[in-house]
């Protein structure tokens, strides 16, 4: 069996609204159930706060806000924990779907400027009847938005 998967990489496929996204499984430290984050003031809008994960305080990035999705009735089922350059971050997604084995050559390297910045976009994958967007998750969650700190010196 093992050589069947020899040059295949495992990807975690997750859902945000109606779209499927995938990232290398080993980019995630763990997947946890959704914990309601505590508010951190004066942060970018996609930063929904922080959580206490077994004594480790980490920031929470709402991937839906990052992808420009406005609606608020989400599943909010899981958080993906990844260790990024700026420390551990939890990414809020709607649902973890499944893990697939992917041969790297199956990934279509199309650079299409969309909701995902080009430098975080790894390509697309046709899987059964789904089109899956492959994201460099570490880069994507830690990338800094331009409209970052709300400079609120005083209610001026």
């Amino acid at each position: 069996m093992s050589d069947l998967y020899e040059d295949k990489e495992r990807f975690l496929v997750y859902r945000i609204k109606d779209e499927l996204y995938a990232s290398p499984l080993l980019d995630f430290k763990e997947v946890i159930e959704y914990i309601k984050p505590k508010l951190v003031p004066n942060m970018p809008s996609c930063f929904s706060g922080m959580i206490n994960l077994r004594g480790l305080i980490m920031g929470v990035i709402d991937l839906r806000v990052k992808l420009g999705i406005q609606e608020s009735n989400f599943l909010k089922s899981s958080m993906l924990i990844c260790e990024t350059e700026v420390g551990p971050l939890a990414a809020v997604i709607d649902k973890v779907e499944f893990v697939i084995y992917v041969t790297p050559s199956d990934i279509q390297d199309l650079k299409i400027e969309g909701k995902v910045q080009i430098d975080c976009l790894k390509g697309f994958l046709q899987h059964q009847d789904h089109l899956i967007t492959i994201i460099d998750i570490k880069k994507f969650v830690s990338s800094i938005e331009n409209k970052s700190v709300v400079e609120q010196e005083k209610a001026a």
Partner: protein
Amino acid sequence: MSEFDEELIKSFLEEASDLLGQWEGLCLKLEKEVTSDTLNALFRIAHNIKGSSRAVGLSEVGKFIHIIEDVIVALKEGKCQLTKRKLSMFLEAQTIMQDWFAVLAVESSYKFWPEDFLKSYFSETNQFIEVQEAEQVIADHEEEKVEVKAAPQPVAQKVSEEAKVIPLKKEVKDEVLRVSTKKIDGLLNLIGELSIQQSILENSIQQSSLKDHEALIQSSLNLSRKITKEIYSMAFGLRMTPIGGIFQRLERAIKDLGRDLGKDVDIIFHGNEVEIEKTILDKLIDPLTHIVRNSVDHGLEKNADRESKGKPFKGQISISAIKLDDGVEVVVKDDGKGLDQKRILEKAIEKGLVSADNNLSKEEIFSLIFLPGFSTAEKVTNVSGRGVGMDVVMKTLEEVNGKILVASEEGRGTKFKIMIPTSLSIVDSLIVSVNSDQYVIPIHSLEEVVDVDPSQMKVDDSVYVHRGKVIPFLHLKNVFEGHQVESQNGVFPVLITKVQGKRMALGIDKVLGQHQSVVRTLSSYFEKSFAISGGTILPSGEPGLILNITSICEKYFKYLQTSKEVAA
């Protein structure tokens, strides 16, 4: 160079920095009294460094230390006597090696040869050159008859207890600590205990009727709680190192400078055993060194002058550490001429730090020396006037939440009192609510908390009259966006703080309680918010934010400044 070689060099350097620390201590000991024990210990260290450096392929180090070792051997065998020149050669060699090894730690292929040093002390055949006129033999307190036997090995034992002196390298994130095995054994014991209690609990649960085991379960839970608490405090103790480690460096600094300036100084240390967290201890070194150097340079009079004033011939500097409830107090005292109140005031007025018609008390005048841009030394000496003033001392201490006070009496001496927390990992703090969110504010950043009636707010709620003085006011809900809360009615608490010497009043919604907060570092993502200095876990288990009061106030002062400029 292979990875293995680099690993070897690294472990050699760790060992060597320990040995060099002892080397320094032994030299200082030799200055007081020459004993064969001390000489032997020094020889062993030199020999040790020589052997290990050659073993890891640092042949230059081996060659260098061999030259020094020859002098020690000659001393040991009584072929020559220990002179001041030899002693300062030993100390200088130590400094050279310390710097040398510091570079090696970063770049293991570094090649170096201390040419100048050798030239000034040794002949071409590497024989030590004595300078005749400067000859001063250090009193030999012990007869030569003491045979060199298998001497006891105090060196090896001390190693484990003493914090090592590693050159501070910014890029090294993961610090290495030396911890006594006793502490680790204690910790392991407790963890073992805890797992026993855990298995008792597991066993009881497997039994059919829990009722019978209720008492057992109860006691086991109680014990577990107790053990956990002990583990916690012990684990904290692992980061603590005795302050005595830096006393030795201070002694060296004082002795070196005293020698240069021709001042004979007595040094007294107290409280070597007081423990402080390593990170704080490292921050203490520079301020303390600066203070003691100042004391030797400006504080103490020349020995002859002292006698004519009826003071003891030798000047005295005492450094003591005392453990307090909320931290450690380090006091540096000298019996020199004291601070010149009049000159400090003149200088401060001249530099525009205070107005001429001020009405400052003696204490307030002394504290002017901590202001940036103040330096009393008329001419810049290469001793204390290296561009580092007392303001830097104060700033460095503030970085670790420390405070410094000065007291002085003309003709009698000067006293610096430094108060620092023992640990940066736990802070006493207030939990407050703003916009119905909880925030944590370190108590040390506050002067007081007062209840304020809205009628005490003036000028559009931008100033607050506090004990007859007008101070700027800012409600924290204006700093934090978030769910807005209905406007305040009635009395609310106000935090009074002092930043950059200026008072500031910060409004909050409610004080929820006091808490000993364990500080957790936050990922750098949080750096985007200027108001936060760290995170903590609240008693409820939720994460909480520790506010950086200083940067909030500084930002507000800046804002006031710019809006003033705009208005003008």
